[in-house]
């Protein structure tokens, strides 16, 4: 279900689920322990969540940080959006369920399909 992309420092680009942002994270924003986001990174994350929310693209949750020796170099954020592969599989599943529902329904003999549909 997860889509990962690097977390931009000042990225104005649109980040739809399934797309990868290639913006650089910018200069180091602080020191951090393993897997811990520094306050500056959290602020960026909040701003990005607000931006995505305004655009109706869902929210962003912190997935983890890769910290270089002594300084944070890159962050990754996780959206709650499914990936394109998830979506395609879900759409195919949905159509299979629909097909099952149709096949389970008993259609009286001689029922003609609604060809040349007229109300």
């Amino acid at each position: 279900m997860a889509t990962f992309f690097t977390m931009p420092r000042r990225c104005g680009k649109r980040h739809d689920g399934g797309q990868t942002c290639t913006c650089s994270f910018g200069p180091p924003v602080g020191r951090t322990g393993a897997g811990e986001a520094p306050p500056a990174a959290r602020a960026i994350l909040r701003a990005m969540t607000r931006k995505m929310s305004r655009r109706g693209l869902g929210s962003v949750a912190l997935a983890g940080f890769a910290a270089g020796p002594g300084a944070l170099t890159q962050g990754v954020a996780q959206t709650s959006l499914p990936t394109p592969k998830d979506d395609l599989e879900a759409a195919q599943r949905s159509l299979k369920t629909a097909s099952r529902e149709l096949n389970q329904f008993s259609i009286p003999r001689g029922t003609e399909p609604a060809f040349l549909f007229r109300a």
């Binding site: 739809d16 689920g17 399934g18 995505m52 929310s53 305004r54 655009r55 109706g56 693209l57 869902g58 929210s59 959006l81 499914p82 990936t83 394109p84 979506d87 395609l88 879900a90 759409a91 195919q92 949905s94 159509l95 369920t97 629909a98 097909s99 099952r100 529902e101 149709l102 096949n103 389970q104 329904f105 259609i107 009286p108 029922t111 003609e112 399909p113 609604a114 060809f115 040349l116 549909f117 007229r118 109300a119």
Partner: protein, 474 residues
């Protein structure tokens, strides 16, 4: 140039026409004022796809001349309006709300646009929409090249879709009326969420020539306006047979409220659980009050139940198969990936795999649905139900999120929108109150070609209520 009071921007089209006939202001002044308002405030709600101010103002010269010479052409003469951006207009971009079609230009006008032009209505802008009218399905309000449709009652909420710009523009007083389209819920939903009146006509009553096809057997075009009365006048103009639309029923519609059946002779069916269980708790008082108004019309109210069918399976199969066939080139060329909504992209791709057997089974069941509705409408004349059970969602909320509440045990009329669309039935959406500061609405659904009955009942309802006159803090 006349300076118009804000009230005028929220007046029904027929009132504006009466004032034009009385010479209170000219068509040019009216069109200029509405165009300026649409251009200025349209972007605030993401509802404007294409302003057409210059063309509109140019067209007013002849119409003002007609008024001077007393060549009167009906209650829409001189009235500005907006059209959903799936209707083509000669020489102007028609984008269908979708990035792959930005800049697409047709060399003819859609039949409905031509008919409105002939009666003297003035198109002042193309209005935003969900990309490809929603395709088979979509996840986010932001599924549009113009961004999410923002609700004039609360811009953090969605205006509904897929006729999102038409809903916002009418609600915010940017156009007196607009054209929308419905495949399954795309007129009723924005009307309910934005607190305006809308009519989904019987399938085949209004020509779709020049409109983007999403589903040949489900698409309808209809008016979105301030009052039921306005909807009647607009429908009279845009209806009628059209050899260019193979789905055309070849029938015209004459709006004749004066010959409407007496209210006491109308049998209105409803499901009690719609109002007690299915409606969101915050909306229940408004729906209960609205239902009391319906009863006060002296119609005969009786409980009714919808026929039981695998409605989700039927509409999913038909819509996916038809949409994927229509947009096959978009899908196979890979341009489908330019769409904004991943779920829609996936739905279109998956739709190519629907088997002929499944499609035909769905169409067989559709015949049965129509037959069952015929039986139901021998017992009642009209069905009354909430148009949507709750208020407009926040724009960031996924539209496919699992419901917060468990579905009630009895189905009520929860499947009325897809079932009635599958049967090609007309529906009228009537604002009926507020919940948490947002509009809610009732829908009236009748047998095929019963628009006059629905409109007569809607007019009576709006005589007794003022929900349709409320306006958002624009």
């Amino acid at each position: 140039m006349a300076s118009f009071p804000t009230d005028l921007f929220f007046a029904p089209a027929v009132d504006l026409n009466a004032r034009l006939r009385a010479g209170e202001f000219s068509v040019k002044e009216l069109v200029t004022a509405f165009s300026a308002r649409l251009d200025a405030l349209g972007p605030r709600y993401n509802c404007l796809a294409l302003p057409l101010t210059a063309d509109a103002v140019r067209a007013t010269k002849d119409i003002d001349g007609d008024f001077k010479r007393q060549r009167l052409r009906g209650p829409l003469q001189g009235i500005p309006y907006g059209a959903k951006d799936l209707l083509c207009t000669k020489g102007q971009p028609t984008s269908w709300g979708a990035r792959p079609y930005v800049g697409q230009v047709f060399d003819y006008d859609a039949t409905v646009i031509r008919k409105l032009e002939r009666t003297g209505a003035v198109l002042i802008g193309k209005l935003a929409m969900v990309e490809l009218a929603g395709g088979p399905t979509y996840r986010f309000a932001a599924a549009s090249v113009t961004g999410p449709g923002l609700n004039p009652w609360d811009r953090s909420r969605w205006s509904g879709g897929s006729s999102s710009g038409s809903g916002s523009a009418v609600a915010a007083g940017l156009v007196p009326f607009a054209l929308g389209s419905e495949t399954s819920g795309s007129i009723l939903t924005p009307c309910a969420f934005c607190g305006i009146t809308g009519l989904r006509p019987t399938y085949g009553l209004v020509s779709r020539y020049g409109a983007m096809a999403l589903s040949w057997t489900l698409d309808k075009i209809g008016p979105m306006a301030r009052t039921a009365d306005d909807c009647g006048h607009i429908l009279q103009v845009i209806s009628g047979g059209d050899a260019n639309d193979p789905g055309s029923a070849g029938k015209s519609f004459y709006y004749t409220p004066q010959y409407a059946r007496a209210m006491k002779d109308i049998r209105a069916g409803f499901a009690a659980e719609d109002f007690s269980d299915w409606a969101e708790p915050a909306a229940r008082p408004a729906f209960a009050q609205a239902f009391e108004v319906v009863k006060s019309l002296e119609v005969q109210v009786k409980e009714a139940a919808l026929p039981v069918f695998p409605v989700r399976g039927v509409i999913t199969t038909i819509l996916h198969a038809e949409a994927a066939t229509i947009f096959e080139e978009l899908i196979t060329s890979g341009k489908v990936d330019q769409l904004a909504d991943q779920k829609q992209i996936a739905g279109l791709k998956a739709g190519l795999e629907v088997s002929a057997k499944d499609y035909l089974k769905a169409m067989q069941i559709r015949s049965l649905i129509r037959a069952e509705f015929r039986k139901l409408f021998s017992e009642v004349d009209v069905l009354v139900a909430p148009a949507r059970y709750g208020i407009a969602p926040k724009i960031a909320e996924p539209l496919d999120a699992p419901p917060a509440r468990r579905a009630p045990d009895k189905p009520g009329m929860s499947a009325l929108i897809p079932l009635a669309n599958l049967a090609g039935l007309p529906a009228l959406c009537l604002p009926c109150g507020f919940a948490d500061g947002m509009p809610v609405a009732l829908q009236l659904v009748g047998p095929p070609f019963s628009e006059n009955l629905l409109l007569a009942m809607g007019r009576e309802f709006q005589r007794k209520t003022d929900w349709h006159t409320r306006r958002p803090p624009v």
